[in-house]
Every structure is written in structure tokens, then in C-alpha cells.
Symmetry: C3
Subunit: 190 residues, 3 copies
Amino acid sequence: MRMRIAISVMLVVLVLAAGSSSAAAAGKWRKRVHAPCKRLVFYFHDILYNGHNAKNATAAIVGSPNWGNRTILAGQNHFGDMVVFDDPITMDNNLHSPAVGRAQGFYLYDKKDIFTAWLGFSFVFNSTEHKGSINFAGADPLMNKTRDISVIGGTGDFFMARGVATLSTDAFEGEVYFRLCVDIKLYECW
Amino acid sequence: MRMRIAISVMLVVLVLAAGSSSAAAAGKWRKRVHAPCKRLVFYFHDILYNGHNAKNATAAIVGSPNWGNRTILAGQNHFGDMVVFDDPITMDNNLHSPAVGRAQGFYLYDKKDIFTAWLGFSFVFNSTEHKGSINFAGADPLMNKTRDISVIGGTGDFFMARGVATLSTDAFEGEVYFRLCVDIKLYECW
Amino acid sequence: MRMRIAISVMLVVLVLAAGSSSAAAAGKWRKRVHAPCKRLVFYFHDILYNGHNAKNATAAIVGSPNWGNRTILAGQNHFGDMVVFDDPITMDNNLHSPAVGRAQGFYLYDKKDIFTAWLGFSFVFNSTEHKGSINFAGADPLMNKTRDISVIGGTGDFFMARGVATLSTDAFEGEVYFRLCVDIKLYECW
């Protein structure tokens, strides 16, 4: 009898374990317990082209609303500016630390009455530490201390990854430089 | 012997059950049974800047092909026009209803011989009802009555969400205003 | 006793079965065994507008950095150029083969010192063979022989698809034409 109970308990545990990936069945239960299967923290550094910094710039305005241009970020909280970037990724918050990868993609400012952005980009790694890419998309209401975007996929070491990345602005200097801290929490790790 | 058969049958059943979240194993089976774990219907309203409506506009052309500009949508079914938007989301189809969130991101027109768009955007909520974001991407062949795009991720209340959103054009007025109905069906709800 | 062993074996099977979709629990195990649940190979053909090929062009520059324009790809490895496309998809590498669908979306060049792109696009099918769409996003370091991007979602026949697509440049002609081979490997097939 004790044996049967033990087996029943085990089966329940197994069902719950299976449920942890059957979201439809066990949504609420998961909410309480999910923990990242992988966690990585990086910084990336964006130096925007402003007409005078061609050599150092890692990003450039490539689209703007009719009232803007491609050298100076537009009025109305830069609404409509679209920026392409190839930013160095570092392990710490020092722009001059060795880059461990590149953050590549675009962001756009999409609100007239406050700074808010939308991001589509990848972290691209090709080092002894990491090979492969992590792909991100999501809204970045950058006046909030932290904001969450989605990890929508990955390749190589990050094959099929999904998760959430928490962004925080670690520093900025006028309209030329900003540094984001990206706390990547993967919840699906193949 | 009978026992072994019984166990084998059980294993098959179990494998199928596990298969309900192991898509590779049980794809066809799932096709018959999947139902959303969460369903939400919203409307969003896009008012495109046309040179005369700066105050009300929620969207602006920020990129265009060489034969276009950023005030008037280009010829050839607007091919190449890229638009950034921050549109109010409402529960019903009334532009003047209280906004429950913002639809933020971009769309682009990508076909010369018919109206077709591609969308990358987020629904951003910060109300008592919903907190968090839902991220979308996909093709929008907007002359079709309904068209499906992907929910590629979510944050907050929509943590790790995946699903399909069915878009339909609820109304439009010339080249300035359109209203989309978005029927969001999540099939992965953590 | 034999019974207990049988049950233990079952439990192991169950754990493995559950693990196949519980990435967090069995990441390493999966890494060794994952195989696509669906595999598709296509080609798509991009003819970039250059001021002289309006009739045949399937793509156009819609954004560029300040030092570029929308007729000629910019210097510095086209850094900052954003291109919208509606490209035919074929089963083989012949531009003149019947199109089985359209590749629609955008790419941008995002590195100053080497050719590298970022892609957001969909494969849109509406044939007897396939109906629905596959959505892609990711970095495309196009000087590499092969590079992986993410399948971030799908609709219709590709409902809820996830996977990896391996791109390779099958041909290119100057700055006007290129042909990509796309080897789509889905690992989640509902």
C-alpha cells in the first residue's frame, strides 16, 4: 500500500513536471515557480552619429519623420527616428572593456510626448565563451527604470532560446551616448 | 504477457500525452485539439501624419522609396513606405473610448501591385486590468478580410506568451485613418 | 520485484518524454537529440531598385544614413541602409521558376567594416502546397557561408512554428541581385 502511494506521488510529480511545459494546462502553477534555465548579464554601448563623430559612431539615424533629419534626433521626443546600430557588448559597464560580441539591429522612437522606443536586434557572439545569437524584440519605455522585452529566439549556443530581457539605462551622455544593461533570463533552453 | 501488453499500451498513451507538448511527436494530433489558453480582443487606431494633422496624428512616415516622401504615402500601393506609430488601444471600435494601452512599433508597405504590409509592434498595457506587453510580428496582406500574425513573446501579465493574432480592418478613412480589430489567441500562457 | 523494475523503466521513459519538452530540465539531453519536426528548403530572389530597373525591382532602399541616398547603397558596407522587399520564393535556384510564395519584409545593413545585415520578414504562401506564413528575425552576417536566424512564429499550415533557418547566399550580381537559399528547420510543429 505504501508502495502504491509512493508511486502515485511520483506520478503526480511527473504530471506536474510535464505540465511545466504544457502552458495551457498549468499556466497558473507555472507563474509561481518559473525560474530561468539560463541567465546572462551584459552591457552594450550606443554612440549615435551626429555629424561630427563618424569614426567612433556605432549607430546612425536612417529614418526620420518629415520634420526631422538624419543628423540630429527629431523634436517631440525623437518621435519617428529610426536608428540602425552595431554596438559593442561588454561584460562590465566600461565602454573600453574588450567586446565579447555585438548588438546589431535597430531601434525607433515611437511616442511624441515621452521618450519611448521599440527594439528589434540580436546579440551576436563569436568567442570562446559563446557562439551564436540571441534575438530580441519589444517595447522599451526608456523612462522607466527597468523594462522588459522578449527573447524571441536564438541560434548556436542559444538554440531555440526564449525568455525575457530586462533593460536598464546604465548611463547616457546627451544625445550621443547611452549604455544599456541587459539582464537576459531564458526560460526555454534546449 | 498480457501484463506487458497492458504496459505497452500505457506507454503509448503516456507518450501521446507527453506529446501534447512535444510538438515534434504529435503535431497532427495537436492540430485537432488546440484551443487558446487566453483570448483578448482589442481595437487600435492609426492616424497618419499628412502635413496638416500634427496634433492628432499618432503615426508618421519615416522611410520611403526614392519616388516617395514622408508626407504623402507613395504610389504603387505605398510600396516601401515605413511608418512608426503610437496608437491608442480601445476595448470597442470607438476612437474616443478610453485607451487601455498603446500599440507601438512600425509597419511597412511591401508590395507594388497590391496593399500589403509587414508589422513589428507591441501592445503596451499599464492599467489595473493588464500590466505588461505583448509583442507581435508578421505579414499583413490587408486586402484580405482577416489575416494572421504571430505573437512572438510577452512580458508582465503576458510573460512568455506565444500565439496568433487575427487582424481585420474595422474601418478606414482615405489615407489618414484606419482601425484594426485584433483578436489575440494565446496558445502558450505561463 | 519485476513489476517494480517495469514501473521504474516506465518512470524513466516518462521523465525522458516529459524532458523532451521541458527544456529547463533536460537542456543538455535535448541538445544531443533534437531533430527537426519539419524541414523545408526554398530560394528567394532580391532585385534592388537602382534607379533604372523600376519594372523588375522587388526591393527598394527606404532608409539610409545621412551620407547615403535611396538609389545607391551607401558606402561603409552599406551601413544604415534599410531595404523593403517583396521577393519571389522558388523551389529551385532559378529566378524564372514559378513562385510558390513571397518573402516580404525588410533588411538593414548594420556594420561599417564588413557586410552584415539584420532581417525581419515573412514567407507568405497561398498555394495548394502551403497556406500560411512563417515569420523570421535575426542577424545575417552575410560574409559567412551559412548563418542562422530564428523562426519566431507561424500561421496557417505553420501554426505556432518555431525553429532555425540557415541562410546561404546562392548567388549575387553586383549590388542589384542576390539569391538566398533558406533551409528551414522547425523544432516546434503544432
